[in-house]
Amino acid sequence: MLIITCPWCGARPELEFRYGGEAHIARPADPSTLTDEEWADFLYNRTNPKGLHAERWRHVHGCGRFFNAVRDTVSDFFVVTYKAGETRPDIAGDQAK
């Protein structure tokens, strides 16, 4: 089981959290102007990287708040967690966009 550090509550076991998928996918401001390809890309396509992954978690059985994390999907090691709304921290050796 993973130990996840909630930016508000500190380190807690994984069971207190719910996974929220890839982070930093902003809903388009005006969906009606998007092509079908762009809309499908927003809805369905995911980066799914082997390596560092920015993702959302929600501390459902704690403070209830969403936050973001950067995790290595090969080792499941959490590099950093940060509050929702903050930009993704620049991590050395991070090749992802």
Partner: protein
């Protein structure tokens, strides 16, 4: 290829079994092939076999980063069934079950397909309604599936506890033609049969890039053993599909999750069928070696780690202990994880891609083993003709753009 038969076995036994040849060659990659399949799992090897057998394309290489059958083909719980709800899925999985039924003869390799039945249990009113709907939909599609009462479930599978549990069994949907097959034998059998028709299976050869020409079409693959020229690439890389497709600049509607399974110590025959329960998250069957083969769920988060959390496994074992109380004293022997690629609608993608010459067979999620021969068969057709077979025509990448999802989340076993 040395043909396997009872007589041949007897003949070679008299010679002390010293005259058997290796079942497949271990060739070095050639500079060019007519088609390259990435991934020597069951699906990739089946595609190579059917390319050679049905389409006469024998200059084919199957590239494998590790060893053949070492990924999800060797890690799954070997269940075969075709009782899916929608017409598109029923056609695809039924095509596969029909191939399973004659597969051992076709590839001259005993894949130990055992139609012992797959029983899906209902524990609440929603399950009952949903499974009955499946039974009727299957009947209209010519797929066998029948409704059993709780007592009939108990009669069909006596070890089941149908009443003294938190979520008592209200009935079940039984597909009698469903069952299990030997997963390793499927990989080995397809490898041997493809090799015999001239297909090169190249292991320990990792694809590191996909080279494309000025017109965007594929020109070949960069590998850890050098560049291989080809005009057709079939990606059959399961959990690593997103990684391989990114080499060609294609974003996929996929996420990769760890899926766990475990086996018990081997015991005498004690469990006659395959039992699955979506609601309490358990599925179980007994292998011919005697081990209880148990499938757990996926972890909540995407990962390539090939291992999952312990609480996922114990959650499944809790359910197994309620469902089959006599197994409470069984000890578990091994557990492991595999990485499964899951699509938003839980249906696979077997299709052409926006890149000319690049084809993909992916998104099998937690249930790809059952489809191995059928999937390879229609994928080979797609690669050979540069057009889908009618059976896989609905399973495109574009269905996500066009809104034609094939939403099988309800039929997809227990993991979602």
């Amino acid at each position: 290829m040395q043909k396997f038969s009872g007589l041949e076995l007897l003949r070679r036994a008299l010679g002390g079994h010293k005259s058997w040849q290796p079942q497949w060659r271990n060739p070095d990659p050639k500079p060019e092939y007519d088609a390259v399949i990435i991934g020597a799992g069951g699906h990739g090897l089946a595609a190579a076999y059917y390319l050679a057998k049905e389409h006469g394309i024998t200059r084919v290489a199957v590239l494998e980063r590790g060893w053949l059958g070492g990924g999800n083909t060797g890690r799954n719980t070997t269940i075969v069934r075709s009782n899916y709800l929608f017409d598109e899925s029923a056609a695809l999985y039924e095509h596969s079950v029909k191939l399973w039924e004659g597969l051992s003869q076709d590839i001259n390799y005993n894949v130990m397909y055992s139609a012992r039945g797959v029983l899906m249990l209902a524990h609440n009113i929603h399950d009952v309604q949903s499974f009955k709907r499946h039974v009727h939909a299957n009947r209209l599609n010519g797929v066998d599936n029948e409704w059993l009462t709780a007592e009939q479930c108990k009669e069909f599978c006596p070890p089941l506890n149908i009443s003294s549990m938190r979520y008592p069994i209200l009935g079940g949907a039984l597909q009698r033609r469903g069952g299990t097959a030997r997963h390793d034998a499927v990989a080995w059998g397809f490898a041997r049969a493809a090799d015999a028709r001239g297909v090169d299976i190249i292991q320990n050869c990792e694809v590191t890039g996909i080279r494309r020409g000025a017109d965007g079409a594929v020109e070949g693959v960069e590998t850890s053993r050098g560049f291989i020229r080809t005009k057709k690439i079939g990606v059959s890389a399961a959990g690593h599909t997103s990684v391989v497709m990114a080499m060609a600049g294609v974003r996929m509607p996929l996420e990769s999750y760890p899926l766990q399974a475990l086996v018990s110590e081997p015991v005498k025959p004690a469990f006659p069928t395959v039992v699955m329960s979506n609601t309490i998250h358990a599925y179980i069957s007994q292998s011919d070696k005697g081990e209880m083969v148990i499938g757990a769920g996926t972890d909540a988060y995407t990962s390539y780690s090939q291992r999952g959390a312990l609480h996922i496994t114990t959650h499944t074992l809790d359910a197994i202990c309620e469902l089959v109380p006599q197994f409470r004293r069984l000890r578990m022997l091994r557990n492991w994880g595999g990485i499964v690629d899951v699509t938003p609608d839980r249906s696979p993608i077997i299709a052409k891609t926006p890149v000319p010459g690049l084809y993909v067979n992916c998104g099998w999620g937690t249930g790809g083993f059952k489809a191995t021969p059928g999937s390879g068969n229609v994928f080979a057709h797609t690669i050979a003709k540069d057009a889908p077979h009618p059976i896989n025509a609905p399973f495109t990448l574009e269905r996500f753009r066009d809104g034609f999802l094939i939403d099988e989340a309800a039929a997809a076993a227990v993991a979602h």
